[in-house]
Point group: C2
Chain length 418, copies 2
């Protein structure tokens, strides 16, 4: 393991890469979008791209591209992921995908300079801006703007909790550019699995065949401010109590379905005025429903709405749906899954089809061009946590598979001629 | 109503007073401790004190005193309350008490300049710093330091959520002084009732005879950060879910007791990392139990601890008690209650004994010197809310009673000679 020159080069860069935004005393990082840590990593990464002969470009939403033109005028095979992280998160999530993509392209660059005839298309590596959405909502911001799913102006005007806009934050770290018009024919991304099935089943390469269906809500619970010590029960309209019941109700939904058929969660929960002796007048919270099955989502939706009604009556609060969006189980191109499978076979690595519960930038890209999405295992499936861990061996297998996948894409795989 | 010169003067000042920190489009204020609004009001108030011949002094925790020396060397009758507010709160809470105390003293000042023999003691008005505790914890900070219950250094080092210390905040508004050694013989305070009993029973003057018993907790719920979409139920240690169950459990405690025997509340609830797709690793929350009966508190405590154990087992979280403090039902001096009752009788105003659920600065002062605590009614008992309201008529009756109470205290009432 790690004995080839390629492997050593990857592990050396990976080790440097993991130091940007490192949380001291842990193995994890805190590198939210457009923070100083993100900026430092981007500058280092841009230098690596240039050192390998790639031209660095930034677009108007801060996506960072490294371009290798082999055949002037031809379109590009794009590969990458995101280097931003959640607060106090693992060092693998996103970052591994960018580095694996970059090293796959670095290997191919050497080869294609000698044998340009082996590729039909050019190569591009990308670090998508703000995939995590922890500082600026929504998540997958960079790839959503790139694919036209989110308006640039809207994205740039989004504010973090301190009131700083995306535009200001990217301007402050000098990562706003004006690159446009990248002609992409196909896309590949690799990520650590954020679940344990591959590790448990001894699978090295996950062939992502579809995303789970999901329904995401932002709720606002409205009560009335009053003295939390003095106010009698019958006079209280306690938004915090109503919101707490909603969190519990989302958990209790799981009991209505077979184990694993539904995931529900609340990750963000903001209380106003959030003061020691004041009954809260307002709580905003996010609740997500996820399932491989659209039917399960529909039934869970119905049950959640019943809980909302019950809570409003019981606690004399109002509950509004501020926004909601949903999607069905959403497949990746079958041709891409098969391509990745044959690469894994050729490299003698075990592979299996898996679904992704989490969204990825490839979720946006696959709606535009044929896309391959791969996973490597994560120990115990730990994710969005400082202790997230994937073995070097698996990281290196992933880079090998990516290299071969991108090689085939560059040679024209998955692209149907007009 | 409001036809005497005194009444007009009070209502005129009251109207100006309510404009500091006014929340536009409402009748309420947002005037947290040591904010710009608090600073502006303090400056205006200091000018009023000086215009009426009082010397203004500030102590090392920002308590603002107006002193009227009638008999040099004699101790002081102190009267006042606090001008800071909760975020988006009513204009009466605290502020009315300061203005009623000031106007009582202004009336007496005129009289005592002509007839100094009518008073034995000097007069002092106080605006206690940070009674609310919304920006800096704990509440009743100024009177706690004044009475030696809280160390000055500890109070000055307390930080708000933005990391600003009390010392920095008071320094920035130039409200830190070095006044010490005020010799106080007795204390009087008036406040709007933060419940509806007086309004419902047609009582104009509440004679506060005791505070409710209370037990206050800061809990920390500890889980583990993970991807809130991808992580399977059995792998989650969701601090937000555990904390939500604790809020619901605190509400459900009420069902175990007779109506009104117990109040429970959670006003503050902070989630980490509080990000859209992350299972929370930590939630800090405050839970208060309050009752007129120490036995009820003890039983509620026991039931709450059972809930804590149940939640830890059920949701695989840890729950720590970060801090807790409690007090029994705590009486005001009976002699003070009787004094206020006789004043109300003399003025032909209805009065009744009431308990206070909320704490007041007088809760600190009564442990040092004989103290009188009075209430006037509040419409519907609304408190810590922009819509808090007390009729002018009741405000003016309160000032009349305070004037006579302070007059008697200045003449030596409640003070037993050595």
């Amino acid at each position: 393991m790690g004995t080839t020159e390629h492997d050593q080069a990857f592990l050396a860069d990976w080790s440097i890469h993991s130091q940007f935004g490192a949380v001291s005393g842990t193995n994890g990082v805190d590198r939210q979008a457009a923070t100083v840590a993100d900026a430092e990593q981007r500058r280092w990464f841009a230098e690596q791209l240039e050192a390998h002969g790639f031209s660095v470009r930034r677009d108007a939403i801060g996506n960072l591209f490294g371009l290798l033109e082999i055949h002037p005028g031809e379109p590009y095979v794009l590969t990458g992921s995101h280097m931003d992280s959640q607060p106090t998160a693992g060092r693998f999530d996103g970052a591994y995908g960018v580095m694996a993509s970059a090293h796959a392209c670095f290997r191919l660059a050497r080869e294609l300079r000698e044998h340009p005839e082996r590729a039909k298309f050019n190569l591009a590596v990308v670090d998508w801006f703000n995939e995590e959405g922890s500082r600026f909502k929504p998540s997958m911001m960079g790839s959503s703007v790139f694919t036209g799913k989110l308006a640039l102006e809207e994205a740039l005007a989004t504010r973090d909790r301190a009131g700083v806009t995306v535009s200001e934050a990217l301007g402050a770290i000098d990562e706003l550019g004006d690159f446009t018009g990248l002609d992409v024919v196909s896309y590949a991304e690799i990520h650590v699995q954020q679940a344990r099935s591959m590790e448990e089943e001894g699978v090295t390469i996950g062939l992502v065949s579809a995303t789970w269906a999901a329904h995401k809500f932002e709720f606002r619970v409205l009560g009335e401010q009053s003295h939390s010590g003095a106010t009698a029960l019958e006079d209280r309209k306690d938004a915090l109590l109503g919101a707490a019941r909603l969190v519990v109700a989302a958990r209790e939904l799981l009991d209505e379905f077979a184990p694993g058929d539904l995931h529900t969660a609340c990750g963000e929960f903001n209380v106003y005025p959030n003061s020691p002796v004041v009954v809260a007048s307002e709580v905003s919270l996010l609740i997500d429903l996820r399932s491989p099955s659209a039917e399960v989502i529909a039934r869970a939706y119905e049950l959640l709405m019943q809980a909302v009604e019950r809570i409003c009556a019981q606690d004399r609060v109002r509950i509004e749906i501020v926004s909601e969006h949903s999607w069905d189980q959403n497949p990746y191109q079958e041709s891409g899954v098969k391509l990745a499978e044959s690469v894994a076979d050729e490299l003698d690595l075990t592979s299996a089809r898996v679904l992704t519960v989490a969204g990825h930038d490839s979720t946006n890209m696959k709606d535009q061009v044929p896309s391959v999405m791969l996973f490597v295992p994560s120990v115990n499936g730990v994710s969005h946590n400082l202790d997230e861990f994937t073995r070097d061996e698996d990281l290196l297998h992933g880079v090998d598979v990516m290299t071969e996948v991108v090689r085939r894409l560059a040679a024209g795989a998955l692209v149907v001629e007009a």
